[in-house]
Symmetry: C2
Subunit: 656 residues, 2 copies
């Protein structure tokens, strides 16, 4: 059996070809899109080589969502390892493509050999004739002055009466090179097998501070159950803290059947509001709003208020239903039916979620179901929503996500999807590859300096960086880590500082700023009196993280270095409790030092390798850091971390 | 523009699917074959996962060159990282394929949930009915006793009168599991996109000691120009040294036009034999033998003598012609014609090779040319040759090699091709991927311990190991490294020890065993009086490496650990001049220590991490190595290296 069925047959028309491979950026050889932000410069790399000794030339071909044809930009051979690079800017959200083509630069090859032989004092009469043929051939593709210029160059190369030295010089004249680059032959012209996809998001998909809040817990002066109107009044505070995105858990009608009571108990009292994730009752399903929050008109008021304050509203997209959801009545075939005829509720044995029915995405009427799910997104997009936090996507089919995100992005390339998958690594990665713009991470469970360094390195310096944008939530309604339960306010300050500076996207869930830390029970990551099952109005006037939040969110907006994803470099500190990282973007050069032990001061020794000016961004005080390791002690009860702006000695920009 | 055109459409018949990806072994995602040897066990790995919580099952499908259908072997989920493995043996040279398929193990999923719920004392009446349905469904595919057994199992699961505990136990009975594995449903059955190719060579392609010799330098008692007959008499010595392959530079008629004289001078005297790489004259081309060596009959005598001694003969496949080659007259269109009508000779400016014409592989009659080149191989294969050392393959088209090796391997899977490409890394790698069985390496230029460790690690512990089999030649007629020129006999002993033990394939070129070290001039890697241009009879009776060669080649045959490619592990020695490596194959556990400084003794401290018995394979003396670092001094003027066989304390096999 000869397996090499893809080996080239001998075909009379087959041209010589080049090898073009290992194109970057690429995700799984082009099966998925690499991700970029509008405004980015995309650096394309490729291995390009061929048998023999010819000089090659190459270019990147690229096209944006609005382009009818390919645009091109030359590539350069940067290192002696057959690796070429070229760059282009992406200025618009949507689907881009790029590829690489390369060819033999016959004229450059000719010139190179001519020079070597002439320098070795060899006779080059025949070589000059070869060059004349190349130039003459090119002139047939030129017109006007270009053609005349090429013809006279060919004539000079051919003129046996002229001294060889003069003709060799003429063959390397700059104007001739330019003309030959334009009109010269491109033997072996080869294009990489298939264009690679690149998905470009709007900038906020890659740089934003998120705030998660349950509107029902923000009542007016009268107290009780909050509404969109009363919660809108709380937006000034959120905007004042510097947040960009306000994310609301599901705002739809909440089911009554098997409604959960406080602390996830099985029997809800008549005044218990239930879990917002048990979606749907007689008032409607995923396209309705819970009457207790107000009307669709009230939601619009809330959204417009947020936007007026410079924020946008993100909604929850949770594809599951309460037993009272209209779909259960209208489309029982969309759910799982048990042998006894009843519809199956959600469970993760031995845990039961009687108030929630999972959807059967592979049911016979999956066409109807999938379209209905897509139409939920279309409805809220019609309501001005452009960001969706997707609940538990790993329990729904991968192919559904690829399809539905593709459908929506085809119509609205500005829509942002955040994947809330906490599961095994490859499944989280797959969802990101399938199209999710951002993804939750394991950040809440990475608390030591070495864990943080290794995890952030994985996110930003491995192939993940091309498709997985981590959103570092410091807490969620489901995750109150032991570190926060036991570390007191210093722990909250440390985690906030890390979340806000390690990556450009981060978030907190309401109550974090008040140091809320009481678990359901010892060993649990659930909050006591979890807001998932009850209304939890808060007093925001007491001790809080507000000052830290305001300062960090301001620094994030001022410093391009905090807005980029893959520019982090960790430095040794000599102390296992102190994390040190440097983030650079152009002139903006920041150094962050964090003591991750909330219980005790630690001293780090940091070495930048050169003496630099450093300005502490909290105090504004500048100092000179020597080239030798310098020591800093961080006392978390006073200040768990510091951020400096660095500048080379004597350079401008030494202050913030 | 929606780029996700490969996103799944909603099709009523579309089933749920699994993700199966990152299959190994694979070369460039299956574009090329991974390589193995007949007798190997192939370990197949794959990432296999799906949305949701179902338990999965998977198997490897594979087929050899003689198989009409797929064979299968189950895979197991070895680590909690969605990575699965399965193994199969390859017992025959030729093209193999494998792929992976996986499915939802519906019965195992059911059993798992049933157990969790039953353990949590939940009522499982409905679950038992679901299980009964699964078993009943499977019984429809069974016959006879299997069907009866399944039907009664289903009946028991369904029997409401029986206690649940009893029915739960029945659902996990071993015979039922076996039947369900055979007849149970396989929802989501998914196969990896395309089978991966695996090229299996005969064992000697991966384990052999090569000896390169010019027959003309092995005259009989009368002296003068050696012949196949006189050189055959020298084969006893070569076989006695323990070599497996005798490689002959081109044996074809040598051209007369511009024949090179001694030391590559331009004018050959009438008695100068010329370079064997200037192939072809009136006596014939690539399918003829040089009359001065004898006849084809004499070549057969030589080959048969080698085979009688347990060796095989490798020929040189050098696709270039002297100006006197018959092809030049019969097919001038196969060469490069200059503007003045003359045929171009080979050059690498400013160097000229006037005695050699390169072939124009992309000429108009490339079909005729490529077939003629292939027929040269067929001719020598017909003469019993099964190994070819290919001269300068990187100056001929990649696509030619892929085609011609594919053609030959389709007919003769036992043919071995060695790529003699010394060029940039990616081009050498490409040739190996295209089908070359073995490749020359940068070994001659890697002389320090750190260079050797890093280079051998690259060869054996990166993706290269799947397709690139390095053949460590210690010298060649073109490469006499400065290290050998200056290091004296200890340098030769060191390099031989390294070549013979670092990788399972190595070679020397005749004269190495006599410590030949005189360069053409200072700074040159060319030999003075290079055998490429003159006859060089040698006196093999003086001081030589014979003892080392015999010992090392014997150890290589005795020790499986020296026959494997990717089983090397380097250990720190605390001295930059001492290299330490361990090679293990099953019970065979070897430790090699080499001082790579031929000029001075050095002392290493080696730590095996545990106390072990060690037997020195040169002296046979056993000793106990402690768990703490132990010191060894190696004096290259006495013994530059040592090899021990290791055994765990008290275990049998502590001696060689």
């Amino acid at each position: 059996m000869n397996l090499r069925s893809d080996a080239p047959p001998i075909v009379a028309s087959a041209p010589p070809t080049l090898v073009i491979e290992c194109l970057t950026p690429a995700v799984d050889c082009g099966r998925f899109s690499a991700k970029r932000l509008a405004g980015d410069v995309v650096r394309v790399g490729a291995d390009i080589f061929r048998d023999g000794h010819d000089i090659l030339a190459a270019q990147v071909l690229y096209r944006g969502p609005a382009d009818d044809e390919w645009r091109s930009v030359p590539m350069a051979f940067e290192f002696d390892d057959d690796r070429w690079y070229g760059e282009f800017a992406v200025d618009q959200a949507g689907g881009w493509r790029f590829t690489v083509e390369a060819w033999i630069d016959a004229f450059a090859t000719w010139r190179g050999e001519l020079k070597k032989k002439h320098d070795a004092r060899q006779d080059v009469a025949s070589e000059l004739l070869e060059g004349a043929e190349l130039v003459h051939g090119a002139s047939r593709h030129a017109r006007g002055g270009d053609r005349t210029a090429l013809d006279s160059a060919a004539a000079l190369l051919r003129r046996a009466a002229a001294p060889q030295a003069e003709r060799v010089v003429a063959g390397a004249a700059a104007p001739l090179l330019e003309l030959m680059a334009r009109y010269g032959p491109r033997p072996g012209l080869t294009r990489a097998p298939a264009p690679l996809p690149l998905w470009v998001d709007r900038p906020r998909a890659g740089f934003a501070a998120w705030y998660e809040m349950f509107p029902r817990s923000f009542p007016g002066a009268a107290g009780g159950h909050g509404t969109f109107r009363t919660a809108a009044a709380a937006l000034d505070r959120v905007a004042g803290l510097g947040f960009d995105v306000v994310y609301l858990p599901p705002i739809h009608p909440i089911g009554h059947t098997h409604r959960k009571g406080p602390n996830n108990t099985l029997l809800a009292g008549p005044s218990d509001p239930g879990s917002p994730w048990a979606i749907g009752d007689s008032a409607g399903g995923h396209m309705a709003v819970a009457p207790e929050l107000g009307t669709l008109e009230d939601f619009r008021f809330f959204r417009e208020r947020a936007e007026a304050l410079g924020m946008e509203v993100a909604l929850d997209y949770a594809l599951q239903c309460s037993p009272d959801h209209p779909w259960v009545r209208e489309h029982p075939e969309w759910f799982f039916v048990r042998p006894d005829g009843s519809i199956k509720y959600a469970e993760n044995p031995p845990k039961k979620y009687e108030d929630i029915l999972p959807i059967n995405f592979w049911c016979d009427d999956r066409a109807g179901l999938w379209h209905a799910c897509r139409d939920v997104l279309r409805f809220w997009i019609g309501e001005g929503v452009r960001t969706f936090r997707v609940d538990n996507p790993h329990t729904k089919p991968f192919s559904f996500w690829e399809w539905v995100i593709g459908e929506i992005h085809g119509e609205h390339p500005d829509v942002v999807f955040l994947s809330e998958a906490f599961t095994r690594p490859k499944r989280m990665k797959r969802l990101a590859k399938l199209g999710f713009s951002q993804s939750y991470t394991y950040f809440t469970w990475r608390n030591s300096a070495s864990e943080l360094e290794s995890y952030i390195t994985e996110l930003t310096a491995t192939p993940m960086r091309e498709y997985y944008r981590g959103n570092l939530f410091a807490n969620t309604p489901d995750i109150l880590h032991e570190y926060l339960q036991q570390g007191g306010p210093p722990a909250f300050r440390i985690r906030l500082l890390l979340a806000a500076t390690l990556l450009p996207i981060y978030g907190i869930y309401s109550g974090f700023e008040l140091f809320e830390a009481e678990p359901l029970r010892v060993g649990s990551e659930e909050y006591l009196h979890s807001e998932k099952y009850q209304v939890r109005p808060r007093d925001f006037s007491g001790p809080s993280l507000d000052e830290d939040l305001m300062r960090l969110n301001r620094l994030r907006r001022e410093h391009p270095a905090l807005q980029r994803y893959d520019n982090i470099q960790f430095l040794p500190t000599g102390d296992e409790h102190v994390l040190c990282y440097r983030k650079v973007a152009g002139e903006d050069d920041l150094l962050v030092l964090v003591n991750v032990d909330p219980a005790a001061p630690h001293t780090a020794a940091v070495d930048l390798g050169e003496a630099m000016d450093a300005t502490d961004l909290a105090t504004g005080v500048s100092e000179r850091l020597d080239a030798t390791p310098w020591e800093v002690t961080l006392d978390p009860s006073a200040e768990p971390g510091r951020i400096w702006r660095l500048a080379t000695l004597g350079a401008p920009g030494g202050e913030a």
